[in-house]
Symmetry: T
Subunit: 142 residues, 12 copies
């Protein structure tokens, strides 16, 4: 079983973002944790980051995975294109956010993409990803 | 370590609610799963349900727990009182929802209570609770 | 056949409210009229009042009636909890209002609860209840 | 005593409209029921339908009736002209709707005309009319 | 002369709330100050706190006092029920807030309950209550 | 100790304004009451009125007082300039209103200036000023 | 020179409308005054009333006049059709209202039709028409 | 096969409307083009214009055609009545506009009627109609 | 009989403003026309201009006139202070505008001051003033 | 004559999208139909798809075509960049949509890009494209 | 060449305002810098401050300068009067702000006055003024 | 010292855009001016243009410059992604616009990106860039 994890724009610079919102770990640390958790759960984890909406769309269109954990970052609130591609995915998707988007600026409180996913996990830092991975795996095994 | 799980109004009738949104398990099944997961994680899980805002407020005010998983149900979108009491809690709280509130009626898409929590997990059915429990425990052990 | 009538918050003080909106009869007079009309229609009428959202929720959850006439009073405009419990009722419910809520303050013009009922009757004073009772009975007999 | 019943635009095609909203009876069946109920209540019932706002306005301006039951249909939400004429009526008027307008599209949830009526009854199908007739008659006899 | 002071939800935990908004005194200290000021003004002060909307409604419905100082706390912004009961009170009521609600989150800036009171005092900490007491007493003696 | 009281536009014509909102006393009567209360509280009270935003701004910028009670009248709802000058005041300011602004036209319900003050008192007529004076004095002595 | 005056829906029942808004004169009295003023101004005045949007549209489309005074009544706030026909008129048009529409319900404060006219006169009762007539005549003679 | 074309209010004066929005051809020229195109497509084209909402409603209710091309003109943005009658049509309908309504005043950008049609064509002048006719015919032949 | 005419901010530079909105005449020409019309109507006309809200307020507060024609210019849309002073005027006031404010930018379409006047005349250039003068005089003589 | 057809994001997966909205044909079938229709109309059709806003911008900036049919898909509602580039195109552009965007989610009902095009065709499936092609060709030949 | 610099309300107290928004320099330091830069650019700089809208209007109406740099301060967001006078200025005007108004409270993000200027410079402290001066001078010399 | 200048989407076609908004110079002319000004200020200027959000993000993430002048063009109003990357830049950034965005369509008046910059300069054509460059350099040297 292969689960993909896609990090949206600017998450490649995680360690330079506001640590009160995003924590102190870098993206590599997150990816290692997820690969490790994947081994524990007996699934292969493939993680990628892109700053490009169209590259993310291309990845999501592909049938090369059993499930997806996605952090659409700044695209969460503005991209109908991402919502459209998530709606045509035939595998389970969980949306995750490091920060608690309900407690931030007004324009970050609504998610255009979440309605096209199974569910959403936010505010738990690295854990948001880990729980997202667990959710996708459990959903596939149910 | 003792973690409480509070279910808000109408969750005592879970098996009679719209199963396309809430799944088919009843509240007892959810509570057993959580107790079981608690044993696996080596924490005691205490679960309660109330239809009363004031009773929930009374429970949350008490210092008798190390962490809280809460599904405020219909109060999520309307209760400043619940937000206020969550803001004065000195233990970690994670908000959970069985259904994907981002994909439902307009008035269910905004949460008044989530900004007073660590984070929010929605749309994953029973799993929302399980992941919420994991999140609280991991947060306490970090 | 047993039909329940639930009066929401502050309706126990009906005779002290603005008579241009609520008329001059007290709650007891309303209840007697309904019992009398019940006899005429050959149904048993049970009327109760509560100021507590959670008590109302508890009553509505019970399967102890064939139909319900409810005046949610001030909760009409603010309670998602009441809407949720009305959505899971398996018996017919009609919402009634003594005053013409369409002709009052802006915040009273929209009803959160009516979409979960069969229909709504407003502005006809005591008659709103009587017609609500007739509607529920006729619906059950159809 | 003579009570008029005015059906607004498109109600002459009732049997072709969405039956989940409007039921399956045609306008003639509604009118017969009302005449019959009128006999029972000892009042004469005169029913008419028009697709024309100005024709409805002309009818309402006339003093040739003791009371009115009106279903303004699509004009409910858009016609200040209809509200104005209802405000100058010197006989009691009750607004009725076959469907539960509180549970339909956003633009159908607000009524421009209801504030100029005694009250509003919606969502009860044919019964909305019958109860409207009862309400007008009882109001006149009180 | 007997004046009641009702504290709304979560004010029993005052000393645990954000002191930059609510000051550092506890509820008991506020109540003692008010009793003391009552003696100075020659009135009896009775103070109570409740987390329950319906309990507050029950207290307010009673005719057992000459005037009321109320801090509706989180219910200020959401409770039509509380507004309704304040509208039927036959004694003078002044609404008070410890914090300056005009300077806080958007949802705390509008009060549903204040229009049903004589007036509102906010932002002056313990003094908001003391001035509220003075206002009610002076109003009764005028 | 010297406390200033500034009355905003049109308050010099108080006795000609709507007495159901503003009471029947004139501005001079208010000022005498405040001077008298000042004597009781052992502070000097200096009261002035201006119809000019810029004159008010000039007065507020001056450091010639220990505290301020201000009724910005019609400027309350529209003047960012007044808010700015209140924000740079280094002495305590309390905003007062004769009428209950929460219960008037929509455009009077929001105050642009209150967030720059210690607090706000409204709806208590002459008493709003008296309590404002007490609040400023007590704040200075605390 | 021939000036037309068109009265919109319900103005034929003027003497039955709320006299605090519409004054006490009937439509005939208005028309006589206008004919008389027309004689004084040396123009022929032709006045008509219709409850029908389409009839008004038909009249306005005709080139049979030198100028127009129109009171669109309830259509003022809702009719794009009327705005469109006014935009294609090749003669001067002035919109008039008996009542001060700026001081009435929210939905009467905006005029869809006024932007297609030379100008608007409101709140002056019969005078609104007389001044409208003067304005059209003076505009034609300038 | 018979296709009807209905032109809404004011389109009978097309050559007098703003030619930058509506082009320079008159309604007769449009109708001839459509009849001619009908011959090419082997269908009979019947074109009519009305300024009256109710007349349009009457035409649409009739089952005397196989398909409809409609330009509701100013009624597009305001008529729930027209939407309702289009919803009960059992033949295919395409909405057309001469001008590009998306590029005009705010109130012309939303169409109440389009959701009840197969689709909408706007901004292409006479071509909007021709393409609408093609669309209806092709839909019927598919 | 003495009628005042007050011109608000920037009207002293009338001849430099956009002539498509404001015409080509200067303020002096307007004032001469009004004095001349005053003679014809047998009233004394006193005209003044001010750029200062507080100066206008001072003028309006004075009882030195029998009626007022006012063009509040840019203050029309923003000044609660001006509305307040117009509300306490005991003589008739008519608001006038040179341009058709309904046809300009969104922020110019609503008038805060008109609800405190007898009525409003806009869009007729110099004539707006002349008709305003006639309206005030006729109102005084009625 | 060469006409380009640009398909926006996710249209390369057309056959996997919701067939009730998008029909059952794939993108290749659409392109073949268009090429075929092009032959009939005697123009060369070049069709391309991209998931990338910037790639689409690059294509549109090029002067290598005589006209354009574009389906901006999810970018329709969110891309000012696309609107800007369409505004600088010197060839005719028609916007097309497979689904009836007026009948879908609220956020799909407004088009940012249509005002920069000649016109818009929506809701007609494959036909939307064919009619768009006809429109561009006819516009060029006129 | 003579360039004026007008500072709006409260800028005379600059050194007492929030230094995180406004920097630490006083108004005199700003004026000296500008005079100095003026010398470098070979223009005379005349700087003035006023707390009065009408005084600012008077200054702007005068033709005694070749260009203007203006910081309308709190009037930026509320004054149609200032916008009107800037629209009739026949010399170039640049609006400047010390703080980054796009990053402050919601009500400071929109400028009513900027559309009447050449452009706007904000957020650069003293530099906003210096660059504004350069912009005006360069514009005049171009 | 090296300052970068990034031009957003469609600025490579500057000379084809609406010259009343964007002036007549091309992008090369702007870049030459900036390089020249850089020499005068003794800094190296590197200018680039991209139509791609993700390419801009990549450039901004790089630490290869001392400061940045950016014109985000159409992305200004829609891109949370761009705002996020600007927030993590550790060098000073100034946002510039050729046109006066405050005076254009409603959707261009709000900037999502400006709050993440030092400040914003708009409406001054080529000068917006030159002044932006000066601002960045001066900020770095202060």
């Amino acid at each position: 079983m292969e689960i993909h994890v896609y990090h949206g724009p600017n998450l490649n610079c995680l360690e330079r973002r506001d640590s009160s919102q995003y924590g102190t770990q870098g993206l590599e640390a997150i990816d290692s944790s997820l690969v490790e958790l994947g081994e524990e759960l007996n699934v292969e984890v493939v993680a990628r980051q892109s700053n490009s909406e169209s590259e993310l769309v291309g990845w999501i269109q592909k049938q090369d995975k059993d499930g997806l954990v996605i952090n659409p970052a700044g695209l969460t609130h503005t991209s109908v294109v991402l919502r459209d591609v998530l709606e045509l995915a035939e595998y389970p998707v969980v949306e995750v956010h490091l920060s608690n988007i309900a407690a931030r600026e007004q324009f970050r409180r609504q998610s255009l993409t979440a309605p096209a996913c199974l569910g959403q996990i936010s505010g738990l830092g690295l854990q948001s990803y880990e729980l997202g991975l667990r959710a996708v795996v459990k959903h596939l095994r149910a």
